[in-house]
């Protein structure tokens, strides 16, 4: 029995050891025991991944059925593409798609520019003792929950007594009813996402800058290059591959929105949906609020499958652009 598993696991012929007779069997069994131990070490997490990540996958079939909880996933009536026809007939699903893509592009564009700028600032004063404190402050927001973020956004934007409206009134301007005016929200959400994300994303570019040979800058300085010339002629070209790869990987996830940002920070205000409703909040409402599970599943299927296609596509692109000695793509 043992030998059988042995052969299955380890059928690669070890030519080098083959000539050594008995020794060969010994090495063979140690190798097998090692592999068995590794497999057992991996097993609990593998089971978790199987149950939580693979077991739900057949559930995407719900998108093609008129789902009834009592009849189960495969007992419910098959309705073909009806759910999708319904989905795209509603303005809100189309709107959620446009909002998801549009806002993500906005976040990626400004997020990247801002992250490079902050990384460059940190790089220029990297030897200063203060840099550590800047980094700590910049990273802190990433670890504040979206619920708490929504609390201070409310303190800033409350119509009656929010800080921004107080300042506007002090300047003799009329206050704005922020939570009912949708057109301001792309900017507000952009600012909140910069607040939350710039620490981590700037650290990524900073680490790229720190790997640049310092002699390049010294040589440039001797030639009389100022800070901007050093940035545009040395730093920027060298971190360009890093930027391209990061932007491409963000584009791969363009169909996914940060649920917390869009659900909490907007306080789920229906009046703001025209500019803030994204696929993730749309799916949440279909699933929990209106409890139209088939519709939620259709939106989910569409988000997952288009998302998967984008991930594969952009990973392929990344593999094409990256240098072969520095593999950054997932596969």
């Amino acid at each position: 029995m043992n030998a059988l598993i042995d052969n299955n696991l380890d059928d690669t012929p070890k030519v080098a050891a083959a000539g050594q007779g008995q020794r060969w069997a010994f090495v063979h069994s140690v190798r097998f025991r090692r592999n068995l131990t590794w497999f057992l070490m991996a097993l609990p997490a593998i089971i978790w991944i199987f149950v939580l990540k693979y077991l739900p996958l057949p559930g995407i079939w719900i998108a093609f059925t008129n789902y009834r909880v009592r009849r189960g996933i495969f007992g419910s009536d098959f309705v073909g593409l009806d759910n999708f026809r319904f989905l795209f007939a509603t303005d809100s699903a189309v709107r959620a798609t446009f909002n998801t893509i549009g806002l993500n592009i906005l976040f990626i564009l400004f997020g990247t520019i801002f992250a490079i700028f902050v990384a460059w600032l940190l790089y220029e004063v990297y030897t200063s003792k203060l840099t550590r404190y800047y980094q700590t402050l910049l990273l802190l927001p990433r670890f504040i929950s979206w619920v708490v973020v929504s609390y201070f956004v409310y303190a800033l934007l409350a119509t009656e007594n929010g800080l921004i409206n107080s300042l506007l009134r002090a300047a003799g301007l009329p206050g704005i009813s922020w939570y009912t005016t949708a057109e301001y929200w792309p900017i507000i959400l952009l600012l909140v996402s910069l607040w939350s994300g710039m620490g981590i994303s700037s650290l990524i570019y900073l680490s790229g800058m720190l790997s640049i040979d310092i002699q390049l800058f010294e040589a440039a300085r001797i030639d009389g290059a100022n800070r901007w010339q050093q940035f545009s002629n040395i730093t920027f070209p060298i971190i360009m591959p890093l930027i391209v790869i990061n932007v491409l990987l963000s584009l791969a996830y363009i169909m996914n929105a940060d649920f917390g940002l869009f659900f909490q920070v907007t306080r789920n205000q229906p009046l703001l949906y025209p500019t803030t409703d994204v696929l993730d909040t749309y799916i949440y409402r279909s699933l929990i609020v209106t409890q139209n599970i088939s519709m939620a599943a259709a939106a989910q299927f569409y988000q997952s499958v288009v998302g998967f296609a984008l991930v594969l596509f952009f990973n392929w692109v990344v593999r094409r652009v990256e240098r072969p000695d520095d593999p950054l793509a997932l596969f």
């Binding site: 590794w38 609990p44 997490a45 800047y134 990273l139 929950s145 107080s166």
Partner: protein, 306 residues
């Protein structure tokens, strides 16, 4: 003579360069201080509001310093602390249990996947990291949790979600793979088994990476409210962040009703009390972050994150 003039010019230019250098250095610090404030000030706004007198907050509005200092909000909370204490207990239990389980699931997996002579390395890596590419999303997951595993309204539902995160496994695997193989070979020569090598050689060496993953995982659990939003209806099992959300959305609903004259404003938790709750819910996480963030910065700077 002309040599002297040249020297003087050279000196002047250097002085000028020196001044320019310091002005620009100074302004870079200035911008970074402003950015730091941009990160910090919103949080101070919450702290300030929590220490403001309720009437003053309604009258004068939110400000960076309390317009009228008061600890009323905290006194109100501590007078009737059952809800927040229970939420604290739930959150602390879930965070500690979740982080311990997560590390003890992810690190052995990552170690196994980092062994070059593990025959199942490739297929298992694909099995793990494929989940980063294709995600069934919340709907099938919701069905699984409620119809198959039936864990709604249990602590299990709160602990399950972040136990294995493929991205963290990737970071740990990279770290384990980078450990000097001489050390592992030496332990093997000394007769140590694979489990022994993992526990007493690999794990201690990987402490920086493990600390970083522990920080991320703990904060994932501490800040989690979405799991409760989907799976917890029993108020006894509300974690802190979800309790905060519920209080906020109840206040919102009551505001609408009181505007319509159905209930009086005095029934709802005051604005300052809500802000004080936010401070109490965030404080421990912020302190935790400050203690462990050096691991994080080191990890990111070393390139664990791309």
């Amino acid at each position: 003579m002309s040599g002297y003039t040249q020297q003087l010019r050279q000196k002047q230019r250097e002085d000028l360069d020196w001044i320019f250098h310091h002005i620009s250095q100074f302004s870079i610090h200035g911008v970074l201080v402003l950015l730091g404030l941009f990160c910090l000030v919103p949080l101070l706004l919450i702290v300030s509001a929590s220490f403001t007198d309720e009437m003053a907050l309604t009258r004068n509005g939110y400000s960076l310093l309390p317009s009228e200092f008061s600890t009323q909000a905290y006194e109100t909370i501590f007078r009737n602390p059952v809800a927040i204490l229970r939420a604290y207990a739930v959150t602390i239990f879930v965070t500690v249990a979740g982080t311990v389980i997560a590390l003890s699931l992810m690190s052995p997996l990552a170690y196994a996947l980092s062994r070059p002579d593990f025959v199942l390395r490739k297929p298992l890596s694909f099995f793990v990291f494929f989940t980063m590419l294709f995600n069934g999303g919340i709907v099938p997951y919701y069905i699984l949790m409620t119809q198959v595993l039936r864990v709604q309204d249990t602590l299990t539902a709160l602990i399950i979600p972040y136990m294995v995160v493929a991205f963290y496994v990737l970071i740990l695997r990279t770290y384990f793979a980078g450990l000097p193989s001489e050390l592992i070979d030496a332990a093997r020569v000394d007769g140590a088994g694979e489990v022994r090598i993992f526990l007493s050689v690999a794990l201690p060496l990987a402490k920086p990476a493990l600390a970083m993953i522990a920080l991320f995982t703990a904060l994932n659990y501490w800040n989690d409210w979405t799991t409760a939003l989907y799976f917890i209806r029993n108020a006894d099992l509300y974690p802190l962040q979800y309790l905060l959300y519920i209080i906020q959305s109840n206040a919102q609903a009551m505001q609408l009703q009181s505007a319509a004259g159905h209930i009086s404003m005095s029934d709802m938790p005051t604005q300052t009390a809500r802000m004080a709750m936010a401070v109490l819910a965030t404080g421990p996480a912020a302190i935790f972050f400050l203690f462990f963030q050096r691991y994080l910065i080191r990890g990111v700077t070393l390139g664990a994150f791309r």
